[in-house]
């Protein structure tokens, strides 16, 4: 039976169910199908910190949102067009986020009085007017799944588990997704359990056929592939791209990668991934704690490896003293902070970017550390390479600030040509660099490169360059312990100057200001790139001019940042914190930037941000200078 096909330019679907319902897998498979179909896409997994939160309750709801389109998109989307809800709790928890008139596909199998009560419903919403205004398709997904897989003789519980594949099949039909990748995936994943494999494949196909034959769904939708630059693509999450970037940094520098890490959400996947790649000479050390993780990495750096540690904000707090040691010993070290909601344990599985000031200042003494941030999942690859370039070239610890939404979110990624990746020269010291008054050649570990101010990196095993590093202040040049007042002042200033000098290696800040007459600049960093970009587009569609720039480097800032800021009447800084970049910009450039700040554990909403930008444009072009900028209070809240 052929049904009419309706063209759409983009769709936002959210799969939601209990945390044991396999919603992350369902979303991931739909994403892979969509990626291989050629749409542009962006995803937002959202799950509880509990592995199995109480079944059927609101806190136990796990969801996966995917936004896909026939054009270039930047965010997972603010409000879903389609919700797939596997139980009453999933319906209740997500309904408020939907667009008006959204399609709601509900598995009505589990709408018993008990489950309704667990979700906080006093009446069945399918029987009341609670869902008026939505296009509701109540379907017994579980019942049909159990029926479809009956031939495999599974227990009722095991049979009903395949319901996520039934719903995936249904959605795959509805949006014309290719089915081969998922069939192949299921066959491989469950190769050792033929019953489970066959049940899942059958449920998946049954879902597709149901869509095709049922009268409940009258149209099929088509979203054409998005035009993309020619090249080979894959879908990639931020954590995977970051792990690949670290391996690439190792290959491109010839330094063996040593990861010292302690498991922590949402960074653990980087440890898992790197542990699979020993073929590249990668050592992964799962330490007894966060401190040992960074300590071992620093020890490995001293030995001539590329020392890396991966963590989240609470771990950065524990590693602070060791990072300070790396600052003073001037050894390469990459500290990856996949930020999550804080303070303290905070929101382990939710995103935030409130560790900027921790990365910047979270150590004793004058302890400057370069900071690099990726702006999208795929960009985590390039950001990791950049962090390694800085760490190795300038002999310094570097903070790489990813976040939960980048880590678990995904997007199509154009696979780079390995030959075009930057080459990083470790430039180990091999010879003495100084002659003492008696004419004897010596090695001075703190005799610096004039251009970069980097000190020589001499690794154990190099004859004649034996030296001692440590946390006590060292004398300029010779590197012996020094308590000289003037020396300390000089060394503190020199370490700061070295970090500032890294900006010499940055390209000018790219400012996107197509009309050239924007009065307002929106400046961001990290994962807010997507929502800011989407908001800026929306503002421009209204015919307004607005400029956008995004910072790869948070410390040091690009050298032309001050000039760029001074060119605009107003600068808005959207952040998922209470104004941390704003604080740095105000302090450094004395510019009264306007903050736009939310800390809801979720990406910024592009539509709301667009409204705020529009308001700021209106306010900043108003004749009366006393008109306050929007949201300035937000910073102070």
């Amino acid at each position: 039976m052929t049904k009419p096909v309706k063209q759409l330019d983009h769709v936002i679907i959210r799969f939601a169910g209990d945390s044991g319902d396999g919603m992350q897998l369902t979303g991931d498979r739909f994403t892979q199908e969509t990626a291989s179909f050629g749409n542009d896409l962006s995803t937002l997994p959202n799950f509880p910190a509990e592995i199995r939160a109480p079944q059927g309750t609101l806190p136990g709801v796990s969801s996966f949102q995917v936004h896909f389109a026939d054009h270039d998109i930047l965010t997972p989307g603010d409000a879903p067009d389609v919700l797939v809800a596997m139980n009453p709790a999933a319906l209740k928890a997500n309904l408020g986020d939907l667009k008006k008139g959204a399609t709601v596909i509900v598995d009505n199998h589990d709408f018993s009085a008990r489950n309704l009560a667990k979700a906080g419903y006093s009446e069945n919403p399918l029987d009341t007017d609670a869902l008026d205004g939505y296009d509701v398709q109540a379907v017994d997904l579980t019942g049909m799944t159990v029926e479809a897989v009956r031939e495999f003789g599974l227990s009722r519980k095991d049979a009903s588990r395949a319901k996520n594949m039934f719903s995936l099949g249904l959605l795959s039909w509805l949006y014309g997704r290719p089915t081969e990748p998922t069939t192949a995936y299921l066959e491989q994943r469950f190769a050792k359990a033929p019953d489970i494999r066959d049940a899942n494949v059958t449920a998946f196909r049954a879902g597709w056929y149901y869509g095709e034959t049922t009268e409940a769904f009258v149209v099929q939708y088509e979203i054409k592939p998005a035009p993309m630059r020619s090249g080979t693509y894959r879908n990639i999450t931020g954590n995977l791209a970051l792990a690949y970037g670290l391996i690439a940094g190792s290959t491109q520098s010839g330094l063996p990668l040593f990861l010292g890490s302690y498991p922590i959400t949402p960074a653990s996947d980087i440890l898992h991934e790197l542990s699979k790649h020993k073929r590249f000479g990668v050592t992964t050390f799962q330490a007894e704690d966060e401190i040992a993780g960074v300590g071992a990495a620093l020890g490995a750096s001293f030995a001539g490896s590329l020392g890396v540690t991966t963590t989240s904000g609470p771990g950065v707090a524990l590693k602070a003293e060791t990072v300070g040691l790396a600052v003073t010993m001037e050894l390469p070290l990459v500290v990856v902070d996949v930020q999550r909601g804080g303070p303290s344990t905070g929101l382990p599985t939710k995103t935030e970017q409130a560790d900027l000031l921790e990365a910047m200042f979270g150590r004793n003494g004058e302890s400057p550390v370069p900071i690099v941030a990726p702006q999208s999942p795929g960009d985590c690859f390039d950001a990791a390479l950049e962090a390694i370039r800085i760490a190795v070239t300038y002999r310094t610890p570097v903070m790489l600030l990813s976040d939960g939404s980048l880590a678990n979110g995904s997007e199509p990624w154009q696979i780079p040509e390995v030959d075009e990746l930057p080459v990083i020269d470790p430039g180990f010291a091999t010879e003495t660099n100084h002659t003492n008054p008696k004419g004897k050649p010596e090695f001075w570990p703190y005799l610096r490169d004039e251009e970069t101010l980097a000190r020589p990196w001499a690794i154990p095993g190099t004859p004649g360059l034996e030296h001692r590093l440590g946390g006590l202040e060292k004398g300029d040049g010779h590197g012996n312990i020094s308590y000289e007042p003037a020396n300390h002042d000089f060394m503190v200033r020199t370490r700061a100057a070295k970090v500032e000098r890294i900006a010499d290696s940055f390209p000018p800040l790219e400012v996107d200001d197509p009309s050239g007459d924007a009065g307002v600049l929106v400046l961001g960093w990290g994962s807010t790139y997507g929502p800011i970009g989407a908001a800026v587009r929306s503002v421009r569609h209204q015919g307004l001019a607005v400029a956008q720039a995004h910072l790869r480097h948070l410390n040091p800032f690009p050298k032309d940042l001050g000039d760029v800021l001074s060119r605009y009447d107003a600068v808005m800084v959207p952040e998922m914190n209470l104004g941390q970049l704003s604080l740095l910009l105000r302090a450094r450039y004395l510019v009264d930037v306007v903050g736009y700040n939310h800390v809801r554990g979720l990406p910024l909403r592009a539509a709301e941000l667009a409204d705020a930008i529009t308001d700021l444009i209106a306010a900043s072009s108003a004749p009366d200078p006393s008109v306050p900028g929007v949201e300035t209070q937000e910073v102070l809240r």
Partner: protein, 380 residues
């Protein structure tokens, strides 16, 4: 010159570390930095012993690394002309784990104290011991905080009156050897700063051991805890205080008995499974426990460690409590990488520039393969 021609023959603990081209002397291992411990500090004796002993290992000086934490003893690396790192409080075992795992060609030593190793760094200590990383730990135990000027330490005796415990400490102290054995350390020994010969003997055995070696060194702090080890050191008292542990020998000590050997000895206590000190004359010399440092089960070694006084020290076993061969963390980690690499050439281990270039090209090709793994699609 091969290693066998040097005074210290090839041993498991040093396998993979390149040997020196020529014999070396103490002076070559002495840095140009002025030693700044208090006059009379036990650290001087240990430094002298180590500077005297290192040349005997016959290793290339540049392949030896000393890592320390914080405390008086942790200044140690500055005085040795090897590679060294004076790190942060308690973390030396973690840092050394990275060093030793990253490089099989280094001889890695950790210098630490009772506060550094057992208080702030206790977690790292037990974990390095259980992992059995090939590194040697010199734990200088003076039973006091010296660098911070005299607070009680985790090995101070109960009741100790210090600046921070004016009414006496109520902390129960750690027994370093018991702790190490509890963590299933593969090499555990105790020695004394003033006994150069025994100290050197124990350090040699530690160096020869492949795995983590913990050597507790009783070390006197003349400023804040002078006399803590007088019983062990006094010519009149030491024969009754030191219970010498020698592999394969019955454990006897004290003033000589009728047979000219120590009148006191150690026997197993059948009631508790532990060990007790007895008069040899009362039980007969055949009943004495014969020390077996190589016993796989650490229980007897642990029982022996309990003969150490927890309070004022009047009695302590000294020697090698345990020395057993177990696979090391670093060897196994490197083996896994070698297995994963198979015949893949390594850039670091390349024979020459051409080989290194081949290895690098091979890595880049493998990287391209990795980046293209999984579901990909091509846009024309």
């Amino acid at each position: 010159m091969t290693r066998t021609e040097l005074p210290f023959p090839g041993v498991p603990g040093l396998e993979g570390v390149p040997v020196a081209d020529a014999p070396q002397n103490r002076k070559e291992f002495t840095s140009d930095q002025e030693v700044r411990w208090c006059p009379g500090c036990g650290d001087y004796a240990v430094l002298a012993a180590v500077q005297g002993f290192l040349p005997d290992l016959g290793l290339k000086r540049e392949n030896i690394v000393f890592v320390s934490g914080i405390g008086c003893s942790s200044r140690f690396p500055y005085y040795l002309d090897t590679y060294g790192m004076h790190s942060i409080h308690g973390r030396a075992p973690a840092i050394a784990t990275g060093l030793a795992t990253a490089r099989s060609d280094l001889s890695v030593w950790v210098v630490t104290g009772d506060g550094d190793a057992l208080s702030i760094g206790g977690n790292h200590l037990i974990h390095v011991l259980r992992r059995n990383v090939n590194l040697k730990i010199l734990l200088f135990n003076n039973r006091i905080y010296g660098l911070t000027k005299g607070q009680y330490s985790p090995t101070s005796e109960p009741g100790k009156v210090t600046k921070s415990t004016p009414m006496g400490s109520v902390d129960n102290p750690f027994n370093s050897v018991s702790l190490a054995l509890g963590a299933e350390a593969t090499f555990v020994a105790r020695t004394v700063d003033s006994d150069r010969k025994h100290l050197t003997h124990v350090l040699s055995a530690a160096a020869a051991h492949r795995g983590t070696a913990l050597v507790e060194i009783y070390q006197n702090c003349p400023i804040f805890n002078d006399g803590a080890f007088d019983a062990i050191k006094g010519n009149d008292t030491k024969q009754d205080a030191i219970i010498p542990l020698v592999h394969g020998e019955p454990i006897r000590f004290g003033a000589p008995g009728d047979d000219g050997l120590g009148a006191r000895g150690v026997v197993r206590d059948p009631a508790t499974g532990g060990v007790v000190v007895v008069e040899v004359a009362e039980v007969g010399s055949e009943a004495l426990l014969v020390h077996d440092a190589h016993a796989e089960d650490p229980s007897t070694a642990f029982a022996l460690s309990r003969l150490t006084d927890a309070g004022h020290l009047h009695q302590a076993p000294v020697g090698i409590f345990r020395s057993v061969d177990h696979p090391t963390y670093d060897d196994q980690t490197r083996d896994q990488i070698a297995t994963a690499r198979g015949s893949v050439p390594s850039v670091e281990g390349a024979a020459g520039p051409a080989d290194a270039a081949d290895a690098a090209a091979d890595n880049r090709e493998a990287l391209a393969g990795l980046l293209h793994s999984g579901d990909t699609w091509t846009v024309a």
